[in-house]
Assembly symmetry: C2
Homo-oligomer: 373 residues x 2
């Protein structure tokens, strides 16, 4: 049993820093390391050996030290969130996911702990985020090549540095990529209380773009409306408030929106489509209701609607990292200036199982869970 | 009664050549025409005074002669089809339609009968089509401004000249406008037996583009398949043949299609989406099943599908007539060269009610009905 466990850990330790099978075999044949090699500290990690229900298949494991090669950086992780896509990766339902066994987590922020001999431009103490993000952030020490890491301003609130990529960058990219928006234009979105939704409201407002926001019917809807209006939302409607013949008659002092965002599906997607102007575009980036989108043929023919999709991970795998990093610097600048905010709950690493239960929705509604290491 | 009838005819006669109310009133105040004015012959027309079921609201009426002004051309109509959109205009369910009372019909071909004094470049005997098409073609003589008419080659078979715009031009424009297709690429479509579908098969084949064609389940499906294959279809499937786990496994020697066309909706639209490759586009131009299109959110996010629409009438109202006319000349050239064909049934004008019943689907399945005047 002990021997098996060590084998699992060795395999795991290699998968956390190597991405391809052939490299893994090379390392296997060359197990003897020079005595002078820089080694990372041992790392406490949230590991899953198989895909499945995250609260069943994940466990805390200490991963042995790994070598910090000449182009590598060892980062002491400071914070990393539990995103829905992290959960889907563990469940095995996300289209692109790490080979198991794997360490969970995909984005986060850390402090440079030690650097390989050929590393230039980064020093111990610097704050860095993986950009584009990459798997294995739910652990105390991560070793990855220098090219993975993007240095950020240490004045940034740690929870925002940890979460800037997956949600705010999605919001920014979707506002910029599909329709040319000018000051005075409008957008419409469902799932407006999500972090992406809150970022869209604030980033639209900064551009002088109005936002029409659709939320679920639930107790506390008035508070939610007030909260979103404080962020800059122009209009906030619950789905049931939109059960009217012509939703556009509810708009005042605002053009019909040319761009809509859907992260829900089902009726909430139909409501976004109803608000769109002729020739408008709806971008789908989530499917929280697990219901499909239903559209009449005449919406395409006579209303000339376009339906598109957005997947951050795919975009980041095709674009130059530079564009992505400039956008992140811009977003973190807005955070530091107090112009971009959203609610999060920081949780100590030891309480990971509780945070995971909250992220899985087992304890009602909670803010985004961010693990502090 | 007689007085009322004349009033209707007068009003009708004016609406066939004038588009705006104020002009109509001007004519009203100026009823006395110069004696030397060129007048059209009286015109036998299919007229409807109100929107409703076409077989109930249409009737044959003789419209009195109308003045051929200096920039006008009087055209003796030779042939004009009954398209589904003509029926929808009469029913009042088409988004853009002429004011009632109106003469039916939207495309067709005719021979120049007489010309206004300022007309240059067209002479009696020339063959012309309205391009972009315009309402009022179901009558024996039409008077419209010279700019409406496009001269075509008199070697063109009359039934193709009469029908080239609404269907073949849709097929050509949709193949050219949404996705850049290269020789060796593939497209997928449902409603493949429609005239647009048949044109897509042939126009794709001319470009070296493979076509995957989906048809309804019906008796005679094998004959339909043979017919489409003769036109150049690479693959023809009935909907039930596509009830398999992975439709793409049915394809041989063909890339996954980047472009799909939907004129049906419902399950037939879902089948088009299943064939599309990652990043593919489906263009909806019809909704024959009257069922909506249902799409999973993941099709947009992870498969990066785009759903668009095409409406010929809108395109023609926004583009320069020149582009449209060049495309029509190209299409009629293909017809004359025997490279573009589809089935039609020519019907004498006197049998219009029978042709209308056939077009309304009251007598089973029939080829496109083309009225010969």
């Amino acid at each position: 049993m002990a021997a098996m466990r060590i084998a699992v850990l060795k395999s795991l330790h290699r998968t956390t820093r190597l991405h391809n099978i052939s490299q893994r075999f090379l390392l296997h044949r060359n197990e003897v390391r020079p005595i002078s090699a820089i080694m990372s500290p041992p790392s406490m990690a949230v590991v899953y050996d198989n895909n499945g229900p995250p609260d069943k298949v994940t466990r805390m494991v200490e991963i042995p030290p790994v070598e910090v090669k000449e182009n590598d950086i060892c980062v002491k992780v400071l914070a990393s969130p539990i995103n829905p896509s992290d959960i889907n990766r563990i469940e095995g339902v996300y289209p692109v996911r790490p080979q198991v066994p794997a360490v969970g987590g995909y984005e986060g922020v850390g402090e440079v702990y030690s650097i390989g001999s050929a590393v230039r431009g980064l020093s111990p103490g610097d704050w860095v985020i993986p950009s584009p993000p990459s798997s294995g952030m739910w652990q105390t020490y991560v070793v990855k090549e220098q090219s993975v890491w993007h240095k950020i301003d240490k004045q940034t609130p740690i929870e925002y540095a940890a979460t800037v990529t997956v949600n705010p960058l999605t919001a920014l990219k979707m506002l910029e990529d599909f329709v040319k928006l000018n000051s005075g234009d409008a957008i419409v979105q469902n799932g407006a209380t999500s972090i992406v939704g809150q970022c869209i409201i604030q980033l639209a407002r900064i551009r002088g773009v109005h936002s029409i926001n659709i939320t679920r019917d639930r107790s506390g809807a008035d508070e939610v409306k007030e909260k979103l209006k404080k962020l800059g939302a122009d209009e906030v409607f619950t789905e049931s408030q939109l059960e009217v013949k012509n939703v556009k008659s509810l708009l005042t002092n605002m053009p019909e929106p040319a761009l809509g965002f859907n992260c829900v599906g089902g009726n909430a997607a139909s409501l976004v489509l109803k608000f769109l102007r002729n020739g408008g575009t709806m971008v789908t980036y989530g499917g929280m209701s697990k219901k499909p989108i239903t559209v009449s043929t005449s919406s395409f023919i006579f209303k000339d609607l376009s339906l598109r999709g957005f997947w951050l991970q795919k975009w980041m795998s095709t674009e130059k990292a530079g564009e992505c990093r400039n956008m992140i610097d811009h977003l973190l600048g807005l955070v530091r200036a107090g112009k971009l905010k959203y609610e999060m709950e920081m949780v100590p690493f030891n309480d990971f199982p509780t945070a995971l239960d909250k992220a899985l929705g087992k304890q009602g509604s909670h803010p985004k869970q961010v693990i502090a290491f």
